[in-house]
């Protein structure tokens, strides 16, 4: 009996982990490519790895787009409709507290109102090789962009770009 429980638990664990991986890969494969202007702040060095916290211009834009009645909804969910400029960099078209007004295949990200800004929790961190976090932080404000993929409002970070929108190659 114990052998069966052991095998079933291991099998379920592997299946569950691979399902999470599959969900993420689906967003990366099928999602629309979007570029966002970002600024790295406060690199953290955890024993398990290193990452930089990313802040986005659209966080404030999306918050400013809310009405005075919607702004106090702390931790409230929002749907931020995006559009792209001539370079392909995204800007906020509209911020909504509901999703039924979104057009089919429209470009939008899910976020939440937190501390006077709209927070995109899944876009906030970028894990790097140990020692590279501080190098990313040295990049001047306004010169750093992020390529993301969005599918059904769920966004994932793909890579960092320079101000020519070329991938940044960092080395130690």
């Amino acid at each position: 009996m114990k052998n069966i429980i052991f095998v079933v638990t291991i099998f379920t664990f592997v299946t569950y982990t691979l399902f999470i991986v599959y969900q993420q890969e689906k967003i990366l494969d099928e999602g629309q490519v979007v570029i966002l202007k970002t600024a790295p702040v406060d690199p953290r060095d955890m024993f398990r790895g290193e990452y930089v916290i990313l802040r986005y211009e659209i966080e404030q834009e999306a918050y400013d787009n809310l009405s005075v009645y919607q702004k106090p909804l702390d931790r409230g969910k929002v749907y931020v409709s995006l559009n792209k400029d001539y370079r392909g960099v995204a800007y906020v078209e509209r911020t909504m507290t509901y999703d039924y007004d979104l057009r089919p295949n429209s470009l939008y990200i899910k976020g939440e109102i937190k501390n006077d800004r709209v927070r995109f929790a899944d876009l906030e961190q970028y894990y790097v090789t140990e020692g590279l976090g501080s190098k990313i932080e040295e990049i001047p404000a306004g010169k750093l962009f992020v390529e993301i993929r969005i599918k059904d409002g769920n966004a994932r970070v793909v890579r960092l770009l320079d101000d020519n929108l070329e991938p940044i190659e960092l080395s130690l």
């Binding site: 052991f6 379920t12 664990f13 982990t17 790895g49 906030e124 090789t129 994932r156």
Partner: protein, 356 residues
């Protein structure tokens, strides 16, 4: 009891001709063997745990320092291989070979920790922030079958730690935040306290219900002991004035909090007495002595909190010093009495078993 104390006792018995010289020699040798065996065990345990932890950390750090060079597939493979290999080894040692060796036990604990490590690595691969409640709930779900299969004290502690982390994260992250602002602070405090007591109650009932489950006695004993610790900790927090003030929504000059504060303090003292009596009844002497020490800590805290503004600093320390020396002597005497009483309880239960 320390080795020197036991040796002194043996010498005293030998001098009083209670035991012969040969018997005393055998006893002293046995004490020496036991002490060296125990210290050897402790050292081996530490070495095994440090080794298993270092091995796992090494793998995690290898992934972290080669983040850019490893492919996603390789990272996922390593994230899965680490807990599977550790837990398989532990299963083979503890469940198939029925070994009591420390290597298997150390690997099992690090294996349980590595399950959480795997989810963390997958989160890092996709640069996503894990929802802490979901993260701990998944970790607990997959660690639980292993904890019950390995069923030792350390697995019981690991299981309860994970369940507690999941439950309390959910409680504060989801439940409290959903009602925050909608209800008064005093209601929030009351809900949190009652939930804490209910949580400890469920833990105790679980431990009591499966008390006689063959092969799981030690596993469920931890449930009962930890529930007592949780209840005492909550009751201790309730004895502070600030707790009663928030609960009664008492302003700066309000006095409504005084009566509840007195009741909570009396309740805490009563609860400690109850735990001591229960602990003695169930021969949980370690818990009984820990509660007595908590009693002393309680008086120490209360003395400084109550008199700190009322007395001059020098008088505060002089009176405090005298009180605590007297309290120490009282505790020491009562400890001897308690030990004598425990022996009596044990002997009477043994004699009643003999009669049956």
């Amino acid at each position: 009891m320390r080795k020197n104390d036991v040796t002194k006792l043996i010498n005293a018995w030998q001098e009083r001709n209670i035991i012969s010289v040969e018997q005393a020699d055998i006893m002293r040798n046995d004490v020496n063997d036991e002490v060296s065996h125990r210290s050897g065990n402790l050292f081996t345990t530490m070495v095994m745990y440090i080794g298993a932890t270092a091995l796992s950390l090494g793998v995690l750090l290898f992934i972290a320092s080669n983040w850019e060079h490893l492919t996603k597939g390789m990272k996922v493979f390593m994230a899965l291989a680490l807990p599977i290999s550790l837990l398989s080894f532990a299963y083979w040692q503890l469940c198939i070979k029925q070994s009591t060796k420390l290597l298997g036990r150390a690997m099992s604990i690090v294996g349980l920790a590595a399950i959480g490590g795997s989810f963390a690595i997958v989160g890092q691969i996709y640069h996503i922030e894990a929802n802490m409640t979901t993260f701990f709930a998944s970790w607990t779900a997959f660690a639980t079958p292993f904890a019950f299969m390995f069923r030792r004290v350390e697995h019981s502690i690991a299981f309860l730690a994970l369940v507690s982390a999941t439950f309390w994260l959910w409680f504060f992250e989801v439940f409290i935040k959903s009602v925050d602002g909608a209800i008064e602070d005093s209601t929030l405090i009351m809900i949190t306290t009652v939930t804490g007591f209910l949580y400890a109650g469920v833990m105790y009932l679980g431990g009591a219900y499966f008390r006689n489950q063959i092969g799981m006695e030690e596993f469920f004993r931890v449930f009962r002991l930890l529930s007592a610790v949780v209840v005492l900790a909550i009751a201790f927090v309730m004895t502070f004035d600030e707790y009663a003030k928030v609960l009664m929504d008492s302003g700066y000059y309000g006095t409504e909090w005084i009566l509840p504060a007195i009741i909570f303090n009396l309740m805490f003292i009563g609860l400690m007495m109850f735990v001591i009596v229960k602990a003695i009844k169930h021969e949980e002497y370690h818990l009984a002595f820990t509660t007595i020490r908590l009693f002393a800590l309680y008086f120490l805290v209360k003395y400084f909190v109550l008199f700190n503004k009322m007395l001059d600093t020098s008088v505060l320390f002089i009176v405090g010093g005298i009180l605590f020396i007297a309290g120490g002597i009282w505790l020491e005497r009562n400890k001897d009495r308690l030990q004598a009483y425990m022996k009596q309880v044990q002997e009477s239960s043994r004699s009643s078993i003999d009669v049956i």
